[in-house]
């Protein structure tokens, strides 16, 4: 049987198919005999319809349609089912007999199902009141809503049917329940296609009503339907439901449609001509098809990049990277020591690129400087024009070594300064204080480094501590004018006081035009800042004038007798200074002070006649005199000290320092925020010191916070080694150091090599071999050896001694280092290792800077050597490491025996030097932050943390107090650098510190482990250096080692000598 062949072409019917009919239908497709039979039956039906005369013509139609359904299982065109249906419905649509006929209703349902928008047609039927009494009608209507997922509308339809009491009523109730369940299921599981399919078939198939009107069973609601319907026909598609909630009336414009069939047909009508919505341009055009060539524009079209590539939305706005531990050197090799072969020539300004050990500049930056400078200069020019004071920037080569060597003739001074003309101009500015802005000739002569720092604003601190400030601002007329009046025309002061500054200037010029230049210039050079904003204008009556007059009055004769080396006269200075302090601002004071320092007034006639401060004055004088007569030198230095304090506090441009020493000690310093801690500290220290100076006379002076009693006057016997009674927590405080220095009445016994100079010698490496004077001594600065936080080290040639020396330039002056070095040399005078410590042959000290002169070691530091050792084969390094470690141990032991803690031991601070017997040795340098333990009680411990990176000893890490520990730890850390070529990394396990690096297998692990473990773990006491030293010595004495070491030392020496 070929049923199987064609079963997919049989549309399942709700009530099943008559097998006989089906077989005939199927046979008919292939068998013409059956076909004829079918045709005969069809004609029979049609004849019946045509000949029907009864009152129920629909009956015949219904049978006929049902027959077609059965006989043409494909539901195709051959049966013309749709055509018959349409004809039949159109015929009886308006027949009142069938308005409520279940067969008619079924036919409608079947008919409407074939249209795309059934609910519309149903609504129309409803409005025509056609078949509205049947539950099937509502169920079918609701079905389409349900299929579209619009359960609400479906529910409404059924409810409407219930309201119309459609029959059978219980079916409607069931349908309602089904819809509710279906809605639930739909929302839970999504649309159930099978159920909908079954339901649709049930609704659209035509049951056979043999004469009586009844209904067939309906679709099983939400139940799956399999049974009679074989498979699922793919012919039936889900209808496209057009949901229009508006009234059905708007279906067709114009006249309301009469026939549902016509409406349905109208819906159907455009079917054949369907055009899908879309761009009309895509419709193939005949012309387009014909023209085959592609259009290429003559220009390239820019197409925007598709923006799909883009940054992630959660881009972190900042970087969380921590650079605290990154310490990289600017250049691997020390530019000053290495690669300076004379045969090398560099195609870039190397001295500018590597100006500093820790800072570098790219060529672009150096060039940028020029560009930015250009701008600045333009601005300056404009300003200058506005002020109608134009000063030539003519002292590019101005040597800034300012000094007053007693034997120096005036001629020499003139050589150092610029032409008298420029000088005149300089003094002009001084004397015309009311000009809003006036530029000193130094304005644009900014030292290169200063400029770089300004431009790149690398660190504001250094900018502040490097004092050059070039703008003189004096726009507070009252006090300064008075001052100048008095200064230059003392006899006319009462009258001239209110006069304009310009007059004053002229007058002064009249009075001393030829004499002024050198004097004024000297003044000019030494003082730095006159900041009008901070000039104290508060007048103190007659006192002001009188006292202000003195120093400048003194300056006037000083033009005639410019220099004096009398210590007694220099002793006068601070006194007058102090008076000035009382009445004027620090700036003014500074000004006058500087004037005086150069001119050093001789006339004691200008001794002050004061009203209120007489007593104090005399007391203080007594104090000074006493000191003075104790030791000439000492007194001098004390006074100098005082000077330097004042200058250092006032030289800091931004400070508003109001010092009132005698009267109002509470009205002390106001320190502007921009101050760096150092200056602040310095200021406080000064204040402290000054207070203590007058502690004897000022009852209400607050006691210094330092836990020790300060006695301003010491006998020379006392100050030697009397320790403090209490240990300060921070042994590095500038204040403390100054106190200690005073305590030992520095320079005192250390006067050997202590040279006091004036001004701020500016050391610069110059291309043209031009000597520089420091004090009376002539030096040729050759190059910068290194630059650190506190100063710069230069290589220089000393003409007097005809030798190359190292100059350590520090600013502010570091007297402490000088003290420690001379102490060390003294304490170790008999020690064989005495030459292993830096010996300062001369120390130049001014109020602003200090220069320490020591022997130049050409081999550089241990760090350079470490970098050299790195180049050796790794096996050969150990002997050298042992050798240098032993050296360090010996040196540190000797130093500790002398009760000095270096506190900044690191490879950079050991110099490698050649001994007399052509061997290598180390020398410890840089005692800038050392501690003299002899000044503290026995077993003193400190708590302040040390901040040298990578050299923070374990005690500090543990928060323990420390003393000698730090040096020993640093020796270990330095040895680590030698051995591993990297800084030590520490770890702590089980309460013991150890380092993370791995010792290579060929090294003497026992020795090194002992060394490191004992130096890293000194919690219970200071490590036994003697034992370690013995172990190292023993190791080196082994024959294998000895031989190896000798070899290595020779090769290293050769390397160092660059052979």
């Amino acid at each position: 049987m070929d049923f199987d062949l064609s079963k997919e072409n049989i549309q399942p019917l709700r009530r099943g198919r008559n097998p006989h009919q089906l077989e005939m239908a199927l046979q008919a497709q292939t068998n013409p005999e059956y076909q004829v039979q079918l045709q005969q039956q069809k004609q029979e039906f049609e004849a019946q319809i045509t000949n029907y005369q009864g009152d129920d013509p629909l009956e015949k139609y219904y049978e006929y349609i049902a027959w077609i359904e059965q006989s043409y299982p494909k539901n195709g065109h051959e049966g013309n089912c749709a055509g018959v249906l349409e004809y039949c419905l159109g015929l009886y649509e308006n027949d009142p007999r069938y308005t409520n006929d279940i067969r008619f209703c079924k036919l409608w349902i079947k008919y409407i199902d074939s249209f795309p928008n059934p609910p519309e047609l149903y609504r129309m039927m409803k409005s025509k009141n056609l078949c509205t009494g049947f539950a099937d009608f509502y169920k079918a209507w609701a079905y389409y809503y349900e299929a579209a997922g619009d359960f609400q509308s479906a529910h409404n339809v059924i409810e409407e049917g219930k309201a119309n009491l459609a029959q059978p009523y219980n079916e409607l109730e069931d349908a309602l329940k089904h819809i509710i369940t279906a809605a639930g299921e739909h929302s839970l599981f999504g649309p159930n296609e099978n159920r909908l399919q079954a339901k649709r078939q049930a609704l659209t198939s035509l049951p056979s009503y043999k004469g009586k009107v009844n209904h067939v069973r309906h679709a099983g609601g939400s139940q799956m339907f399999g049974g009679g319907a074989i498979g699922v026909s793919s012919n039936v598609q889900l209808p496209q439901v057009f949901v229009d909630d508006g009234a059905g009336a708007g279906l067709s414009g114009g006249a309301a449609p009469v026939s549902i069939v016509t409406v349905a047909k109208r819906q159907e009508a455009p079917k054949e001509n369907t055009m899908k919505p879309g761009p009309w341009t895509t419709v193939p055009h005949k012309k387009r098809v014909l023209s085959n060539h592609k259009l290429v524009p003559s220009f390239t079209l820019h197409e925007d990049e598709s923006p799909q590539k883009c940054l992630p939305p959660n881009l972190p706005p900042v970087c969380l990277e921590d650079y605290a531990n990154s310490s990289l050197k600017v250049a691997l090799t020390n530019p000053s020591a290495d690669d300076e072969r004379p045969t090398n020539w560099h195609g870039y300004p190397k001295h500018k690129v590597y100006m500093d050990l820790n800072v570098e500049y790219s060529i672009e930056e150096i060039r940028a400087l020029r560009y930015l400078k250009k701008e600045v200069q333009e601005v300056v020019c404009v300003e200058e024009e506005m002020d109608s004071i134009l000063i030539e920037d003519d002292d590019d080569d101005c040597i800034v070594v300012v000094q007053d060597p007693p034997q120096m003739e005036q001629q020499g001074m003139f050589q150092i300064y610029q032409s008298p003309m420029a000088v005149n101009q300089a003094s002009t500015i001084e004397i015309a204080p009311n000009h809003a802005v006036s530029h000193s000739p130094w304005k644009s002569q900014a030292e290169h480094q200063d400029f770089l720092q300004n431009v790149f604003s690398k660190n504001n601190e250094s900018r502040l501590s490097n004092t050059p400030k070039f703008v003189i601002r004096q726009d507070s007329p009252a006090a300064p004018t008075g001052l100048y009046n008095l200064a230059f025309t003392p006899e006319a002061s009462p009258k001239k006081a209110p006069s304009t500054p310009f007059e004053v200037y002229e007058q002064s010029m009249q009075e001393l035009p030829p004499l002024a230049p050198p004097n004024g210039n000297a003044m000019k050079t030494t003082f730095r800042t006159l900041n009008a904003d901070e000039v104290e204008t508060g007048s103190r009556g007659g006192m002001d004038g009188a006292m202000a007059a003195q120093p400048i009055d003194g300056a006037k004769p000083s033009a005639v007798i410019p220099f004096s080396d009398s210590s007694s006269s220099s002793y006068d200075d601070p006194e007058q200074m102090a008076e000035l302090l009382d009445c004027s601002s620090t700036q003014q004071f500074n000004f006058n002070l500087n004037a005086m320092r150069v001119s050093t007034p001789q006339d004691k006639t200008s001794q002050p006649m004061h009203s209120t401060n007489d007593q104090l004055e005399s007391a203080r004088k007594a104090l000074f005199s006493k000191e003075l007569y104790q030791c000439d030198k000492k007194a001098l230095s004390t006074i100098l000290e005082e000077k330097s304090y004042v200058t250092s506090s006032s030289s800091s441009g931004g400070t508003a320092t109001k010092l009132s020493l005698y009267g109002q000690p509470t009205k002390m310093n106001t320190i502007s925020e921009e101050h760096n801690s150092y200056l602040e500290q310095n200021l406080k220290a000064n204040e402290e010191l000054r207070r203590s100076f007058y502690a004897s006379v000022m009852e209400d002076t607050p006691t210094p916070p330092v836990p020790m009693q300060y006695t301003p006057i010491h006998s020379p016997i006392l100050n030697a080694t009397q320790p403090l009674s209490q240990v300060p927590s921070d042994p590095f405080k500038a204040k403390l150091l100054n106190q200690l220095l005073d305590r030992v009445s520095f320079p005192g016994v250390h006067h050997q090599g202590f040279v006091h100079i004036n001004g701020n010698p500016r050391l610069m490496v110059k291309k043209e071999k031009e000597p520089v004077f420091i004090g009376r001594d002539k030096y040729l600065i050759e190059k910068v050896l290194g630059k650190g936080q506190f100063g710069t080290v230069y290589k220089a040639y000393n003409y007097q001694m005809s030798c190359t020396v190292a100059l350590k330039y520090q600013r502010p002056p570091n007297r402490w280092e000088f003290y420690i070095c001379s102490e060390l040399q003294a304490r170790l005078s008999e020690h064989p290792l005495r030459d292993r410590f830096m010996d300062i042959s001369i120390g130049y000290f001014s109020d602003q800077a200090s220069i320490l002169v020591s022997k130049f070691e050409p081999f550089g530091s241990l760090l350079d050597t470490a970098n050299l050792i790195k180049l050796l084969p790794s096996k050969d390094r150990e002997s050298l490491c042992i050798f240098f470690t032993l050296e360090m141990l010996k040196i540190v032991r000797a130093m500790h025996a002398a009760k000095i803690i270096h506190a900044d031991i690191k490879p950079d601070n050991f110099l490698v030097m050649l001994t007399s017997c052509n061997g290598l040795a180390l020398q410890l340098i840089d005692f800038g932050c050392s501690i003299d333990m002899s000044l503290f009680p026995d077993n003193a411990m400190f708590t302040t943390p040390i901040s040298t990176e990578n050299f923070i000893c374990c005690e500090v890490r543990d928060g323990q107090p420390w003393s000698y520990h730090t040096d020993l730890f640093c020796v270990a850390a330095s040895a680590h650098v030698l051995l591993f070529h990297e800084y030590i990394n520490l770890k702590k396990c089980g309460g013991r510190w150890s380092f993370t690096s791995r010792l290579p297998r060929y090294t003497n692990n026992e020795l090194w482990n002992l060394f490191f473990s004992s130096l890293l773990n000194q919690q219970l006491g200071i490590a036994d250096l003697a034992t370690l030293e013995r172990r190292f010595t023993k190791e080196l004495e082994e024959t294998v080692r000895q031989k190896d070491l000798r070899l290595q030392l020779v090769s290293l020496t050769n390397l160092l000598k660059k052979r």
Partner: protein
């Protein structure tokens, strides 16, 4: 050596030193040039004419194309500007707190990256205003290059950072260069395997991004751009590197006025051009590597510069495969 026919000088060059030359992304036609005379210029190389120029307030240190008609530039005025050559409108995108030294475009992420002497890298999204992020590099930035979605940053203190631009919170790698002296330029291989660094003292290093020790072993450095003249060794900064986009070879330009092309993977010099009249400050291969732009300006910054200063010039040179293709394929 005679100047070859395949080379010509651009007309109307900048009035001051050339800081950067950059070819457009998809064509040999357009060249962007930034200069210390505070202008950025767009040249039509094929017609040898100046198409556009726009000004900054001070010297321009770097510029880049983002697409054929948009450029970004920054310099001593601390400002990042963009310019649309179609509409000739310029826009100020944002600022750094110090001069902008590098301007790079990352086509993978469609963003602009700027590196400044204020030690920060900033990311700019052309579609949004303001910087999308600002990332501290702890040192002044001297050179930058993108490598896919990675960013290479060379700073003062001889540091090199490798970042993932999509997550700049932490650096992928922090390195110290293998060169002893200041880094002048850093450029990534087009195949993204590694990068090339040049130093201020006549050396070039080839390094690999893969941190695997076996790969790292392959890194090396070599001397170049040095002239030996009667016993005196003149060492010059290597100012510029530019990669051939296809062959993974690169050209270097030094203050000695020479341009070399190197095969980094095979450690070979492929060719050396004739000596230019003054320092080579910038190089740029075009998108297909057929043309090399050479920016020449006096850049020795001597204390006593020659008078008159050598003229600033941009040479356009067509590069043959013979000059730029590795001679041996790496096995």
């Amino acid at each position: 050596m005679m100047k070859s026919q395949s080379e010509y000088k651009l007309k109307s060059p900048p009035d001051d030193s050339i800081s950067s030359v950059k070819f457009g992304p998809n064509t040999n036609q357009f060249l962007l040039v930034s200069s210390w005379d505070s202008y950025v210029r767009l040249y039509d190389v094929s017609s040898n004419s100046l198409r556009h120029k726009y000004a900054h307030d001070n010297a321009v240190l770097d510029c880049c194309f983002t697409d054929a008609v948009h450029s970004y530039s920054g310099g001593l005025d601390h400002t990042l500007k963009s310019f649309d050559f179609n509409t000739t409108t310029e826009t100020i995108i944002g600022t750094h707190t110090n001069a902008i030294k590098c301007v790079e475009y990352c086509s993978e992420l469609n963003c602009i990256l700027t590196g400044s002497w204020d030690q920060h890298v900033k990311i700019w999204d052309p579609r949004s205003s303001g910087a999308s992020g600002s990332y501290n590099q702890s040192e002044k930035i001297y050179s930058m290059n993108t490598c896919g979605e990675k960013l290479l940053v060379a700073t003062a203190g001889r540091k090199v950072f490798v970042w993932d631009i999509r997550n700049m919170a932490y650096a992928l790698q922090k390195r110290e260069t293998s060169l002893k002296y200041q880094t002048r330029a850093i450029r990534a291989f087009p195949n993204k395997l590694g990068f090339v660094l040049s130093s201020i003292e006549g050396r070039v290093a080839v390094e690999y991004l893969d941190t695997n020790p076996d790969v790292q072993k392959k890194k090396y450095a070599f001397k170049c751009h040095r002239l030996k003249e009667d016993g005196l060794e003149k060492i010059f900064p290597v100012n510029a590197i530019s990669f051939h986009p296809i062959h993974n070879t690169f050209s270097t330009g030094g203050s000695d006025g020479y341009v070399n092309i190197w095969d980094g993977f095979n450690k070979k010099r492929l060719c050396q051009f004739h000596q230019y009249h003054t320092s080579v400050t910038s190089l740029s291969f075009s998108h297909n590597g057929s043309v090399l732009a050479i920016g020449c300006s006096y850049f020795l910054e001597e204390d006593n510069p020659p008078h008159p200063l050598p003229e600033d010039a941009i040479y356009i040179r067509s590069v043959t495969d013979q000059e730029s293709k590795p001679k041996y394929t790496s096995s």
